[in-house]
Symmetry: D2
Subunit: 293 residues, 4 copies
Amino acid sequence: MNQISLESLNAADRGSFIAALGEVMEHAPWVAEVVYAARPFASLAALYRAMIDAVLKGGDARKLALINGHPELAVKALDSLTADSAAEQGGAGLDRLTPEELAAFQRLNEAYRSKFGIPFIICVRRHGRDSILRNFRQRLENDAATERDAALAEIFRIAALRLDLRVTAPDRLKVHGSLSTHVLDTSGGCPATDIAIELCEIPASGAARILARMTTNADGRTDQPLIAGRPVPIGSYELRFAVGDYFKRRGGVVSDPPFLGVVPVRFGVSEPEGHYHVPLLITPWSYATYRGS
Amino acid sequence: MNQISLESLNAADRGSFIAALGEVMEHAPWVAEVVYAARPFASLAALYRAMIDAVLKGGDARKLALINGHPELAVKALDSLTADSAAEQGGAGLDRLTPEELAAFQRLNEAYRSKFGIPFIICVRRHGRDSILRNFRQRLENDAATERDAALAEIFRIAALRLDLRVTAPDRLKVHGSLSTHVLDTSGGCPATDIAIELCEIPASGAARILARMTTNADGRTDQPLIAGRPVPIGSYELRFAVGDYFKRRGGVVSDPPFLGVVPVRFGVSEPEGHYHVPLLITPWSYATYRGS
Amino acid sequence: MNQISLESLNAADRGSFIAALGEVMEHAPWVAEVVYAARPFASLAALYRAMIDAVLKGGDARKLALINGHPELAVKALDSLTADSAAEQGGAGLDRLTPEELAAFQRLNEAYRSKFGIPFIICVRRHGRDSILRNFRQRLENDAATERDAALAEIFRIAALRLDLRVTAPDRLKVHGSLSTHVLDTSGGCPATDIAIELCEIPASGAARILARMTTNADGRTDQPLIAGRPVPIGSYELRFAVGDYFKRRGGVVSDPPFLGVVPVRFGVSEPEGHYHVPLLITPWSYATYRGS
Amino acid sequence: MNQISLESLNAADRGSFIAALGEVMEHAPWVAEVVYAARPFASLAALYRAMIDAVLKGGDARKLALINGHPELAVKALDSLTADSAAEQGGAGLDRLTPEELAAFQRLNEAYRSKFGIPFIICVRRHGRDSILRNFRQRLENDAATERDAALAEIFRIAALRLDLRVTAPDRLKVHGSLSTHVLDTSGGCPATDIAIELCEIPASGAARILARMTTNADGRTDQPLIAGRPVPIGSYELRFAVGDYFKRRGGVVSDPPFLGVVPVRFGVSEPEGHYHVPLLITPWSYATYRGS
């Protein structure tokens, strides 16, 4: 997707403007048309706010059409979705469902549509599969007005992420979280370097899935955050630190197997836009971890 | 198995004495016969020492016969073993091998017998399956004299455990280790009570196996140690503490999922006769663990 | 003071009974006389309860006399006090006051007596000097009825401690707290032995005062608790651990001065009957402490 | 003192150049004259290296004169020293000596001059008073050649710091250390804000001296490092964190006094050019600290 600067967007003609922002709201280029009239925008936040206001003032029919323009989760072939939707659903692992899971989604989709008359909408970039299913089941208990509002709220979250991808600006929307770590060797009073780290997603059932592999640098950190530049999907994670190999290289420990080999640190993420800094303080015989800042 | 006191054993006639101790050394009741003459024994340690000395002074032929009287690991039907051997091998999980694992053991047994002319002997109560396999492979690299000595050393370890089971005495042989824990809520300054704990064995490959389930009491400890009264088999373990449920009951934490749900603490055991105390200090956002005392 | 068993007390004649318990309530042997009639007592708690009930049912005149029978704090020569009062006040450091502190106590005593018509009574064994002064000032703000009740409550605390000193019984009154520690070397995975420890009292102003010096044993604990068999006076304390010397002996650390030399752990005690276990987890470059159990 | 950029220095005429750098080596403007010929300097490090080389190649007589050009410690009135020396000695507290301490310095000065024939030279900005005295006593045990070398090494350290003060350049000499902290509330999973912190110097004898007072910001750090832009003098320090006030403001703790009021963290500095990051992890009932990175 081509990125455009806010400055260029403010200077663009009507056609280019709509071409750039038409898909921010799924199948609803009229939103871009409405906000075109309000140029220039002093900030990305102002542009985003204008798009939300356009929807909120757009009348019930247009709101309903916007909601109904969204695909159901997991059930369509990805190539029948808009490029945005396909990328979003694939990112959440909805393209890797087992037949049983697919069937579960289909039943939920049907139950939801049958109860509320609209598709279930959720900003999948903010969720893991377990979290989508849990939300799905919880929201099925709501009443229709609540779900109409919930659908719009999720559409606005989706729009914020799409806008963030498309438009560069001096300000940023607060749509990204991060996950980072830092390993300190408190028996040596120094950063723990060259520690192999795996980041895994821990599903409610089934096997852990490795999301990233990194190694600590001279400062005990990873050169890049484990997750950055996107929301951290709600869910359960495990960092696995190869602590035993580190102390073996340092030459101090002789027990076989060592007391600490691979140290798993399991934690839950509930705020996709939050900063999760999860340090590890290690000795050959102890460790401590905490949510840092 | 009937237990007998050291006092009764010291007073027993020859037949009863040999009946009680004849199987301490596998298929070698002559060891019991030899030590019978040295009664009475001031302590269990003295009796054990006498049995070892009897073997060491018994001559090469008898030592070799003693070694050859031991079964190979894993390959015989358990009901063809002595009761002691069957219980020991079953305890180490050698009765739960997959066909591939069984084949691996058979290949190792053959390689070992073909190189050294004796069966591979190891005190299986001190080991998990991975640790037996690792020892097997390492010891195959040794020379014959080293392995003759290793076989006797393992036979003496087996004998110590069998003696400990059969004879009660004021003194005890140092053949047992222990595993215990203690959970403290450092955000509340109090023991963490009613925390569900699972103890799992973590094999080098394949799924974790739950060995015990316990719950912390009013002092943050388990009423019984997780392992006691036997060696702690060499291997890798994981304690899983249901910390999230604890703080949910305390009413303080609202994030969903919580930052800490189940806290896994993974550690290796290298000294089966060691005391492994593995405490956990928790808050809703941090924890620390260490090998305690 | 001679101790007497509850059994002997239950069997004692009137004179011996009153001789044993007459001073439990200051200058009020009539309380012992009243409870004499209720013998035998199934437990020390029952005897204590009976003495309290005797006071509470004794009528206003006797209660007031009991209150007025108590000495004022700090102002009398210790040898004019009952032996109990002298020992109690001396234990709280009221015999070591500077002229300024003595004057402060006299002003408070006068203000209190002038407002309430009774002496200020507090169970000094449960307090340090700062805590007595703070209580004194706070209680001066109360009304007369509140202070009448407070005086009796303190008299009952004093009585419980006196009873505990005089009478041995299978049960104990909950009048004692304790202070203990445990030092673990988490860089070595073992208890930290031979660590010199000082326990100091930290006054609100003025210099720290050393209360005890101990050394950790093979298990990283002190052979005796730092405080036991008495209340832990409310106040501020500091444990000072000679961690630098320990690691110097272990031979691992070279920096001069070491990062950690003497580690001070400062904490407040608010429950004199509480169990304060204050462990220290150390490496040459880090430490952690917490209220344990 | 006026600062000059390396660029201007490279372009300066002889007189200005010597005026700028003449006092970098105490009473030895000839060093600046020698290096003037080697202009331009690509970096501050190159200029510094050139000054050292000029001294090392300057011949024994000039070296000895350079050494003898330095004042003795502590004994002269500060206003008889060069401005640099006066500022340096005052910074180390040598202008606050008691008569006894002054006498001790005089005895050491005399002993040193009598043994080696030169004044005792040490880069006082890298030391606290205790550390100067300890070095003084240790170096008195050396032989003359060792001390001749030690004197030059200290002169070069002094020169590096003076050069760093006078000349701005894209590169910096590694002459500064730092001291910083970070307070995390691990019971709340957040930075601990508005915590009052005192940094104290802890002398071997006598009272602690407060060096700085700061308060943690929204990230749990201080806006400025506690020490930066200069060496951290070798010595013993204490950080005092007003943890009790923090938790009192948060409303959670009720015990009076609190278990944790002011938390003292005492540590030694042995590398004046090191980065000392000393974080504190707190709950109302526990804390941990370590040398971080």
